[in-house]
């Protein structure tokens, strides 16, 4: 054979071998590239609260999926224009799955989702969806109802205080469920609500708690993000029911229980779907049955009969035989909003814009 022909063939063989092997290496590297995931939090993670519970979910997926994912998070993102900027930055930074954990992120995320069709977006506590935007929520009201049973049994002044953030349906249904739970064991109770117009503002939450206690409440609960309410109740020697996380270390004598959120399973399932390339947008609304809502261990001060009642109610909610908004449900004017014998529908629940009988004051619109 001619030397030059041989040399040429050898060169072709060598270069094609190199090309093939580099492609194989590149291919395997591409297959190994971790799924980049982003979390957008509305408040600081801290040691307890709404964001802390979501962050527990983040830690769970990092532990489970290890190198297969690369997670980053941004805390204290205000709702509105800033949220849009952060979401856009995350999406253009290569994050293929983005979780936004506050109601006010809904419109910003929707906007960004439309311009990044290949990224998966999941929004908590909202109601808008897209081809690549799902939402998820938990039936907090189930936990509220159960905590109401504790509150109604333990109050002596029959006035229960509620420090609430914004008058959106999710918060309102919590107030109403709490009231109904308390009424189920103590029909004489009334609930006083103070709105602080912020998800996280320890100063105002504390002032609001002090006000409610000064006005006769001997148990205070909250739908806000800091530990201020529990701490204030502990200082003033009153009871508290915490929300989001178990805050007993901030109020060992005050906290009777807490309505706790558990997002680990949800996040794990979503990430698994994405890794299996089988992610579809969904609207998930899980409660006690799915393990997304639970009660923290009851304070030793709660008597056994009350603890038993709570357990029974919890089991009944889980198997569907007890619904916190089973008819008849009366609003403050006495009008029936849910007929006797039926349960409220999910749709009506997510639009709830009235107080039930037993709640003091007028709902700000």
């Amino acid at each position: 054979m001619n030397n030059s022909v041989f040399a040429k063939r050898l060169k072709t063989l060598a270069s094609s071998f190199l090309l093939a092997s580099s492609l194989a290496v590149a291919g395997s590297v591409a297959a190994e590239e971790p799924l980049k995931i982003g979390f957008i939090y509305v408040s600081p993670i801290g040691d307890a609260g709404w964001t802390y519970q979501h962050d527990l979910g983040r830690k769970a997926i990092e532990e489970k999926f290890g190198d297969k994912i690369q997670v980053k998070y941004v805390e204290s993102v205000p709702e509105g224009a800033e949220a849009e900027r952060v979401t856009r930055e995350m999406a253009s930074g290569g994050n293929k799955m983005i979780f936004g954990t506050s109601f006010g992120f809904m419109n910003p995320m929707l906007k960004v989702a439309k311009t990044f069709p290949n990224t998966h977006f999941e929004h908590a506590t909202g109601y808008k969806t897209e081809a690549n935007l799902g939402n998820y929520n938990a039936r907090f009201y189930e936990g509220r109802y159960l905590s109401g049973i504790v509150a109604g049994s333990m109050t002596k002044s029959n006035t229960l205080g509620y420090v609430a953030a914004f008058p959106i349906p999710e918060v309102v249904m919590g107030i109403n469920a709490f009231t109904r739970g308390a009424q189920s064991v103590n029909p004489k109770i009334e609930v006083k609500v103070v709105w602080v117009n912020s998800w996280f503002d320890p100063g105002r939450e504390r002032e609001a708690t002090a006000t409610l206690i000064d006005q006769g409440a001997d148990l205070v609960t909250h739908h806000t993000d800091s530990t201020a309410v529990v701490i204030a109740a502990e200082e003033k020697g009153k009871y508290a029911i915490a929300y989001h996380s178990d805050m007993s270390k901030y109020g060992p004598k005050a906290q009777l229980t807490a309505v706790t959120h558990h997002w680990e399973k949800f996040y794990t399932d979503q990430v698994q779907q994405a890794l299996d390339k089988a992610w579809k947008p969904s609207s998930i609304w899980g409660g006690v049955k799915e393990g997304m809502i639970n009660l923290a261990p009851l304070n030793a001060a709660v008597p056994k009969e009350v603890a038993d009642k709570v357990e029974q109610a919890k089991a009944a909610i889980a198997d569907g035989s007890l619904h916190p908004f089973a008819g008849p449900v009366l609003d403050q004017d006495g009008k029936e909003t849910v007929a006797a014998g039926s349960n409220i529908t999910d749709e009506l629940l997510s639009k709830m814009d009235y107080y039930v009988k037993g709640v003091n004051g007028k709902l700000p619109k």
Binding site: P44, G46, D47, A48, G49, Y52, S76, G161, P167, K192, V193, V194, W195, V196, N197, F200, D201, P202, G203, R204, R206, E207, A208, A210, T211, L212, D214, Q215, S226, T227, A228, I231, K249, Y250, N360, G361, K362, P364, K365
Partner: protein
């Protein structure tokens, strides 16, 4: 609404007024010397943060309060240097320092959100605190509340009954005349500015040590600005500063009590009230330019430099 609730509301009003009293009294002294310090909010929040950090790390609340005052004074030193030595515009420098202070405190304070603090407790004076109405109204506050009252008496006495206060006011009215008489204008203004910063820092420390023993970024929530407005509203008189602080404190507390009582005013409007009251009050005072001119220190906001050197 029963008597007990009214008493508790009044007591809460006093507690809410304290940061305003500290910051406004400090700013009053600064403005009386002719310097306009718009950095009060930044100095307050820096004081709040550093006081909280010291309290969380060492548990020594007195030390924490002093460090808070010191932190405020340090910020004020920066302000003083830029405006008194470098002759920069006082308004711009003050604003810059507020923005800087708020951002710096948020940055350094990141690790301290959700840290629980055993804050300053209310005093329990044997015999007096337990009295039916008078006890809660006068004898059951934490120590910084009484310190604020003492500060008011001290500042009022200093400004109007002491020679040093007279010199300070002279510097504020006509620095050139004071200089001609041999007084060190720049040094006096430096001292006033440091005092103002320390008081603002102390006001912030009260917030994070006693009022809300927690740290959260932005926790002063505009109180520094309200304090600034208060000084103008009070036409630069200490007694009126005290009254104004109680008024604003009351408005802040009222928003929650009104809601709790079930009165039908939207809560969003009530949240706005303290700030709206500030604006209204400023507009009312400024309507008559004569009133302001008559009462304000004549050289307020104007840099002064020694022309002979």
């Amino acid at each position: 609404m029963d008597m007990n609730t009214v008493i508790l509301m009044l007591a809460a009003t006093v507690a809410a007024a304290v940061p305003l009293i500290f910051a406004a009294l400090g700013e009053l002294v600064v403005e009386k010397s002719g310097v306009l310090n718009l950095g009060v909010e930044g100095m307050m929040i820096v004081g709040a943060l550093f006081a909280f950090i010291v309290a969380a790390e060492t548990g020594q609340l007195w030390l924490a309060a002093m460090v808070g005052a010191l932190a405020g004074a340090s910020m004020a030193l920066i302000f003083g240097f830029i405006t008194l030595s470098l002759m920069a515009n006082q308004v711009a420098t003050g604003l810059a320092l507020t923005i800087f202070g708020v951002g710096l405190s948020a940055f350094i304070g990141q690790g301290y959100t959700s840290v629980a603090l055993d804050g300053l407790k209310e005093l329990s004076i044997p015999g007096l605190s337990a009295l039916p109405i008078v006890g809660k109204l006068f004898f059951a506050y934490n120590i910084l509340v009484y310190l604020a009252l003492a500060a008011f008496i001290a500042v009022a006495w200093f400004l109007y009954k002491s020679r040093a206060g007279l010199i300070l006011r002279a510097v504020g009215e006509s620095p050139s005349s004071a200089h001609a008489l041999g007084y060190r204008v720049i040094r006096i203004r430096y001292l006033a500015v440091l005092f103002g910063g320390a008081m603002a820092g102390l006001g912030g420390a009260y917030l994070s040590l006693a009022y809300t023993p927690l740290w959260a970024e932005g926790m002063t929530a505009g109180r520094g600005w309200i304090a600034l407005a208060l000084v103008v509203f009070a036409t630069w008189r200490p007694g009126r500063v005290l009254m104004g602080a109680l008024l604003f404190g009351g408005v802040t507390i009222a928003q929650f009590h009104v809601q709790g009582l079930g009165v039908e005013i939207p809560s969003q409007f009530l949240s706005m009230l303290p700030y709206m009251a500030t604006i209204v009050v400023l507009v009312l005072i400024s309507r008559d330019a004569g009133v302001v001119r008559l009462n304000a220190p004549a050289s307020l906001g104007q840099p002064w430099h020694n022309e002979l050197h």
